[in-house]
Symmetry: C2
Subunit: 253 residues, 2 copies
């Protein structure tokens, strides 16, 4: 099996898209309706999707029935479309190994998001799955992201810049999460990590501009996907929303 970045690049080229469709069922949706809604979103948006990305929290919030809905959602995603498990896990040694087993073996994700706060050693159990992808949180898209991520280190780097320099060295399938809500930082991250796969959230409901995101991150298949969850899934016509966003991304690439 080829590595995650290669598989993502192939899918991205085949379908001509840099779009990652998030599958995050809102708390207001009864859990019994989650699987059917997701199946409809997947069917409608798959032609325009480089990959899908469920965030586990939105399933965990409904307990075990929510995880059954995640199972059904994953089963509905056609083969050949990479799936990123947005889990943002980060823990030490044997615990991280348990997280990696859960995400890669139980759920079968092609890639996952992880939190680097504990340092590289905490991510080694994930790195051991060499054909899977890791997106390491670098500069997140939330309004308060700068509080610790912009902490300036003694050598002049900000914390997220250090992560951008270091994480891509950890493996061929290790990339970064860098939000579209901070396009200047995104461009700087691309400068520091020219060949790192980037997962770019924050367009749509969070206000990031898709064209600016691609202008900053570049448009090379496999090395960038721009993620939208509510902006696609909650649209009156998810297929039309996904197509429009795909086109906006391609126009800027």
């Amino acid at each position: 099996m080829s590595g995650f970045v290669e598989r993502l690049a192939r899918r991205s080229r085949d379908v001509g898209s840099l779009l990652c469709v998030g599958l995050d069922p809102p708390a207001s949706l009864p859990v019994a309706e989650v699987a059917a809604r997701n199946r409809a979103i997947v069917a409608a948006t798959a032609p325009f999707a480089a990959c899908f990305k469920p965030n586990l929290a939105f399933y965990e919030q409904s307990g075990i029935p929510g995880l059954r809905a995640l199972e059904a959602t994953l089963a509905a995603i056609p083969d050949g479309i990479p799936v990123i498990g947005d889990a943002k896990r980060g823990d030490m040694a044997n615990t991280a190994a348990a997280h990696a087993r859960a995400l890669f073996e139980v759920w079968g994700f092609d890639a996952v998001t992880v939190n680097p706060f504990l340092g590289r050693d905490s991510l080694e159990p994930f790195l051991a799955y060499a054909d899977r992808g890791l997106y390491v949180l670098c500069r997140t898209s939330n309004p308060g992201a700068a509080e610790f991520q912009h902490a300036r280190l003694a050598d002049g780097d900000m914390l997220h810049e250090r992560i951008a320099r270091e994480a891509p060295r950890w493996g061929a399938n290790v990339g970064l999460v860098a939000g579209a809500t901070a396009p200047a930082e995104l461009a700087r991250i691309r400068e520091l990590a020219p060949r790192a796969p980037l997962l770019v959230p924050g367009v749509g409901a969070q206000g990031g501009d898709p064209a600016a995101a691609v202008a900053a991150a570049g448009g090379e298949p496999g090395l960038v996907v721009v993620s939208s969850s509510r902006g696609v899934a909650d649209a009156p016509d998810p297929a039309a929303a996904a197509r429009a966003l795909r086109d906006a991304l391609n126009a800027a690439a």
Copy 2:
């Protein structure tokens, strides 16, 4: 209902213990045996436990059957003993709200561990549950913890020192995770956060010294619990191991 710290302090005083018993079933244990093993550990160690702490990863690694075992484990913990959900979650806004719902409402934890990398705003949905506790990762117990946590900021603080200063201001039930494997940092964290509840992992299998941990963190009920998972659960006689560790902690308090 009183706040988490008050409830933990009461339990800690009632039972004369600063010990937090971790419930982390190893991957080698068949999932069908997890609940029974945990019930036995809980029954044996409850007389010596200020609180219990399951780490969710060890249940998630077995998929939905693992989470059923977590349900059974939580049901076996007697009322009045606080339970800390070791989840280390950290995500933005609406996702963090989903995490908080999962941990506080679905699972009913009295307190949880969280990751501060995204900044204070990412933890606000947790802070909204004012009677529940939060232990914010500050200086973890893994060998590589220093990689980012010791990054020195321009004002001279290391990143974990800044977290130690700031997180306890976020709420009355907000504490810190500070590992016993780094007793000098633990003492410094206590200096920076004199009234913060501390969750101190890293004794036992990880090599931290229990007496040094209490000497550094102080022994005030509610403001410190020292956690051991494998060191108690994997001992030939978990009750004896828990009693011995409780006594070692009390001797240093």
